[in-house]
């Protein structure tokens, strides 16, 4: 029945192709960036936290943990980087929830675009947040006297690792955003996940000093592995076991949570 004689028009298809998925996700990412430009205050968490935490915890714990601040920096900078990048990743849930409550999402759903595009676009746009976190953490560290062995190359390598890790982990928070009922609720749940995950790790203190149950948790906590991987990369130029564990951990989270999020999103849509 379908006539395709009209040369100026492409035939109607019921499946968006890969090219369309990439293209529309990029357009959605562009939309995200425009919104950041309009409301720069939404970057406050990823700009202030790395600066504030580095200064605060550096001078607070430096003497106690490592004898002095200078010796503490190689330990705490990777810790704060990992923590801040995960803080940056939770925003996606709140943003998605806010978006989905507005009429704009109805339009997205009624357009002939791949259903994943609004999600993927938001995740891509967050790259700018992750890049900001990385730069600001290292810059604050540098001001406090942190001079890593591997220099810029090490920091660049670490940036790629943490940004990729944040992409994977942000699907957890995207799921919270899709299934949550209100933006405030999503924020609350995400904070509950965030705090134990980042503080109960080797970010600020050596694991050996912890009580046994906590020691066990901090050892298996994937954030600890990410922090160790960052420390090894940036301080020693080593890509070790923890690097691969972080990569595998990130991919596992992605493989579990991306389909779950997509399913919940389709059902809501």
């Amino acid at each position: 029945m379908k006539k395709t004689t009209n040369a100026s028009l492409p035939a109607l298809s019921n499946q968006p192709g890969l090219k369309q998925i990439i293209r529309h996700s990029l357009t959605m990412a562009y939309r995200g960036l425009l919104k950041v430009r309009r409301t720069p205050e939404q970057l406050i968490d990823v700009t202030l936290q790395p600066i504030l935490f580095t200064l605060m915890f550096g001078y607070l714990f430096g003497g106690a943990v490592s004898g002095n601040v200078h010796n503490y920096l190689p330990i705490i900078i990777p810790g704060i980087l990992a923590q801040s990048i995960i803080t940056g990743a939770i925003t996606i849930g709140v943003q998605l929830r806010e978006d989905m409550e507005k009429g704009i999402f109805d339009r997205f759903k009624s357009l002939p675009i791949p259903r994943i595009a609004p999600l993927a676009g938001a995740l891509l746009a967050d790259t700018i947040r992750y890049a900001l976190v990385t730069i600001l953490t290292f810059a604050t560290g540098y001001m406090m006297g942190y001079r890593p062995e591997t220099g810029l190359a090490g920091m660049f390598g670490v940036s790629i690792l943490v940004i990729a890790f944040a992409w994977c982990i942000s699907w957890i928070f995207a799921l919270a955003g899709v299934v949550g009922r209100t933006a405030a609720g999503v924020q609350g749940i995400s904070m509950m996940i965030l705090f134990p995950l980042t503080f109960l790790s080797n970010a600020y203190v050596p694991i050996e000093t912890l009580p046994s149950a906590l020691k066990w948790f901090a050892r298996v906590n994937p954030v600890s592995h990410l922090i160790t991987a960052i420390r090894e990369m940036v301080n020693q130029g080593v890509i070790g076991q923890d690097f691969w564990l972080s990569v595998i951990g990130g991919i596992t989270v992605f493989l579990i949570f991306a389909p779950l999020t997509m399913r919940a999103y389709r059902r809501k849509a």
Binding site: N6, S13, P16, L34, G103, I104, D106, P112
Partner: protein, 336 residues
């Protein structure tokens, strides 16, 4: 005929709906709706708040899956061929479906890109639509500073980027001032002259009357009447003449005049208001002249056309009781 229609299964029937059902918990929002909407016309879906209009539109535009029944857009099933259907429709929702934080310009550019236009085409299309909808001057302002009418116009403009053969408008004029409302009506009429089919929902009988070629009256999730506006109005009865006397004592005399000229019994209320069915508006002049000759003075004269409430009363025997509580809801939602 519309360009894209050469590609579809059924170019003549824009919408075909059969036995459509949608439940939310215990509440059956849409309870077995059947519709056949011919291409190239304006079709009005008329009903009070909570009747199931928006839910129906959401199913037709693939935003929601039906629980039972099917809906086809130009022969394509909304559930199984959603991606095709989305290429054939434009949707303007009840609440502005544009990005509040961006400008009109940015909104239209992004939607154009998402509809497959190249960068330069998207830029051209954006400028064209801004011009057409009188938004060029405000194009770079953030939407927060837009009036309700400007927002609706932008919303409608965004639905027209791809020139879809079928356009859904969910209560396009609710909350607009009378002047903006008239502008919107003209815009909607122009869409059809370009070959598109328009399906619009409304709570206002006069809006459906002004715009629609066919109307379906929907209440409690069911279509309770279907036809042309004149058929519908005929089923409700004619307009009525309402006169307010300056001197209540003259009511019997006035009643006699109406009886003799209009041939119907007038109804007199306590405050000296006489209401009588009016089949031919021409007769008003005669009535008024007769009143002057008899020196009966009037303080108010009006002709009332049937309201949605009266249509409902006539068809269903119950009034639109839900509407007031739901109206409050709407106001709250809008002010959020």
């Amino acid at each position: 005929m519309h360009q894209l229609l050469s590609l579809v299964k059924n170019p003549l029937l824009a919408v075909e709906v059969s036995g459509l059902v949608k439940r939310f918990g215990d509440n059956c929002a849409v309870d077995g709706v059947d519709l056949k909407i011919p291409a190239g016309s304006i079709y009005g879906v008329l009903g009070p708040n909570g009747a199931g209009k928006t839910t129906t539109i959401r199913m037709l535009s693939t935003l929601m899956k039906p629980d039972k029944g099917y809906a086809k857009i130009f022969g394509h099933d909304v559930d199984k061929e959603g991606h095709i259907v989305r290429q054939l429709i434009g949707l303007t929702g009840q609440y502005a479906s544009v990005d509040e934080k961006l400008s009109a310009n940015e909104n239209l550019f992004i939607f154009s890109r998402l509809l497959g236009l190249s960068r330069s085409d998207a830029r051209k299309k954006t400028a064209e639509l801004l011009e057409e909808f009188g938004l060029t001057e405000a194009a770079k302002r953030p939407l927060a500073k837009f009036s309700g009418g400007m927002r609706r116009r932008l919303d409608l403009a965004a639905s027209l980027i791809s020139k879809p053969p079928l356009i859904f408008l969910d209560e396009p004029t609710t909350g607009l001032d009378p002047r903006t409302r008239l502008q919107m009506w003209n815009t909607i009429r122009n869409l059809v002259s370009d070959g598109s089919t328009v399906v619009l929902t409304t709570q206002y009988l006069d809006e459906a009357d002004q715009l629609a070629d066919h109307i379906a009256v929907i209440d409690r999730g069911r279509v309770i009447a279907e036809g042309t506006p004149s058929q519908l109005k005929a089923s409700v009865g004619a307009a009525s003449l309402e006169l307010k006397l300056k001197d209540i004592a003259e009511d019997q005399k006035a009643k006699q005049i109406i009886q003799s000229l209009l041939g119907v019994e007038g109804h007199v209320s306590g405050e000296g208001i006489i209401t009588a069915p009016l089949s031919d508006p021409e007769l008003i002049t005669d009535v008024l002249l007769a009143f002057r000759n008899e020196k009966i003075q009037l303080s108010e004269v009006s002709v009332k056309t049937p309201t949605l409430d009266e249509v409902f009363l006539a068809i269903t025997g119950h009034e639109t009781v839900k509407s007031e509580a739901e109206n409050k809801d709407t106001v709250l939602k809008n002010s959020k």
